[in-house]
């Protein structure tokens, strides 16, 4: 069962094709990381899911409902944290939530439930004007949780947070599907953050979805690598090549063939380096980061400047 499914979404702003044939598949109950650099088309795609922008082409299904034919039905299944929070600074956190609760026609007890989930109950009576950015983000998520929607759409939930705030938000997002019984679709340009919370990722680049897969599958399909630290990198490179291994773009990493035995390769390399008289102070297996995967994939696509040239 898919919580969100789009097919060939397309939207142009003037001469710019902001979203070009994006087909997302977000399974129910997962945390889906929607990644891309600023201006890649993330927010435009999310706004189309929320019915704020009309796609020129394509289809959108939210929890099985056709969002283009039945916006209100689809909107009832979604809660959203948008980049612009839209809180009334002269009202308290609870009063702000209560406005949305009233509009949604929910019981008053719903306020305590969502405030408890985001851990904002002690500060709910304070004016939002005095909230920190992290507290506003939490209040925004509390508002998105009103009515227990099946799908939560969070646009850059860690934007503007300090390191402690990011760590808190990461932990919070990781446990959110279980706590709120919802599917979380979050957009971010912070790849390291997405890597730590998402089960599935989609990478959008220049309006096109260039990759979508489960994070575990993605990592398993990538070649493992060894991180090497030694006192003679140039001579070590010759040893690496002599063993039939591939040095990475930077001399500190060696990319192995998919399926290669990492421990055996490390042992053989260490022996060869020591026999060659090279001092080794670091040799460790290393999983490829999401950032590395992202760079490999987006490098295939030319930038607009390159295309113009």
């Amino acid at each position: 069962m898919l919580a969100v499914e789009t097919r060939d979404l397309r939207r142009r702003f003037g001469p710019t094709l902001a979203v070009d044939g994006v087909s997302l598949t977000v399974p129910k109950g997962c945390v889906y990381g929607f990644m891309g650099r600023n201006g890649a088309g993330k927010t435009t795609t999310l706004k189309m899911l929320l019915g704020l922008i009309r796609p020129e082409a394509g289809t959108i299904r939210i929890a099985g409902r056709d969002a283009l034919a039945d916006r209100l039905g689809a909107a009832r299944c979604m809660g959203a944290l948008l980049e612009a929070h839209g809180f009334y600074a002269h009202l308290s956190g609870r009063e702000n939530l209560d406005l949305s609760r009233s509009l949604l026609g929910l019981k008053r007890s719903e306020l305590d439930r969502v405030l408890d989930i985001v851990g904002l109950t002690p500060d709910a009576g304070r004016r939002v004007g005095g909230y920190s950015l992290g507290m506003r983000q939490r209040l925004g998520i509390a508002r998105a949780l009103l009515g227990s929607p099946e799908v939560l759409i969070l646009d850059e939930p860690t934007n503007g947070l300090d390191p402690d705030g990011i760590a808190d938000m990461r932990e919070f997002l990781r446990t959110l599907p279980a706590r709120a019984d919802a599917t979380v679709l979050l957009s971010s340009h912070l790849l390291g953050e997405v890597e730590q919370v998402a089960d599935r990722v989609g990478i959008i680049h220049q309006g096109r979805l260039v990759l979508e897969d489960d994070l575990a599958t993605l990592r398993a399909g990538q070649a493992p690598q060894l991180r090497l630290g030694c006192d003679a990198p140039d001579r070590a490179r010759a040893v690496v090549l002599g063993l039939g291994l591939t040095p990475g773009p930077d001399d500190g990493r060696i990319i192995l063939a998919p399926g290669a035995d990492v421990r055996e390769t490390a042992r053989a390399l260490n022996r060869a380096l020591v026999e060659a008289g090279i001092g080794v102070h670091e040799l460790a297996p290393e999983a490829r980061s999401l950032e590395a995967i992202y760079r490999d994939i987006t490098a295939v696509y030319p930038t607009p400047q390159q295309e113009a040239a």
Partner: protein, 242 residues
């Protein structure tokens, strides 16, 4: 559904400056009437004070108040950029804008009541200080209420124009420019024949002695206002807020 959205809209006004605005505009007219009466040498008829106050309200204070009020109500959403949140809710979007229009109409109705009550109170207070200036003639309350009611209805068109502009543009400048410009022409060309077709002059035409002026301005102001309101709701609920 509509009542729910309207109730939320009115709650948003809580602790905003709308109350101060609603009191200050009729209050200023009352203050002016109070000092104007005190500086008099002889008693004047009630009509002079009440019709004078409603005149000031119609040709200057009402259009300026509508300009300020529509800007304030629109900026409650423009300021914190809350349109995306509101428009993503499972509500028919026209209800969001209709609630704004009804809120402005309600506050304007309160202000109209304020003009009547505060002006009467100002006259009574001034007379308490100088009893010899006690107004002469009849206090024709039904006639004053009728004039204020007609002004209120005739103001519908200018109210919708101002609200549409205020909601459409996130900057308050276009609304202010139109409001100040409209009021300026309403003040400098109050008796111009063509003024009956100028939305900002329609309320003051409710004091016209020529029947055709009153009927035309009332019909255009109220009828045109309702038509324009329907167009505004259609346009704003369909447009994309990027």
């Amino acid at each position: 559904m509509m009542l729910r959205v309207l109730a939320v809209e009115l709650r948003k006004l809580n602790r905003s400056l709308a109350a101060a605005l609603a009191i200050s505009a009729p209050g200023l007219i009352a203050v002016f009437t109070f000092f104007n009466l005190l500086r008099g040498k002889t008693a004047q008829p009630w009509d002079m004070w009440m019709v004078g106050a409603t005149g000031i309200w119609a040709f200057f204070m009402l259009p300026m108040s509508v300009t300020a009020l529509t800007a304030l109500i629109a900026h409650m959403e423009h300021g914190p950029r809350s349109w995306d949140h509101l428009r993503a809710l499972p509500l028919p979007r026209w209800t969001l804008y209709a609630a704004k229009a009804v809120s402005v109409l309600l506050v304007l109705a309160l202000m109209s009541v304020g003009v009547f009550c505060l002006t009467w109170a100002a006259v009574k207070l001034a007379v308490a200080i100088k009893p010899q200036l006690s107004p002469t003639g009849v206090f024709d309350a039904p006639a004053y209420w009728t004039a204020l009611g007609r002004m209120y209805l005739a103001a519908t068109l200018l109210l919708v124009i101002q609200l549409w502009i205020a909601l459409r543009w996130s900057s308050f400048v276009p609304g202010l420019v139109v409001g100040i410009g409209g009021t300026f022409f309403a003040v400098v060309a109050t008796s111009a024949k063509i003024g009956v077709f100028l939305p900002w002059q329609m309320p003051v035409n409710m004091l016209a002695t020529e029947s055709w002026r009153l009927q035309t301005a009332l019909g255009l102001g109220f009828g045109g206002g309702l038509v324009l309101l329907a167009l505004m709701l259609w346009h704003l609920s369909r447009r994309e807020v990027l």
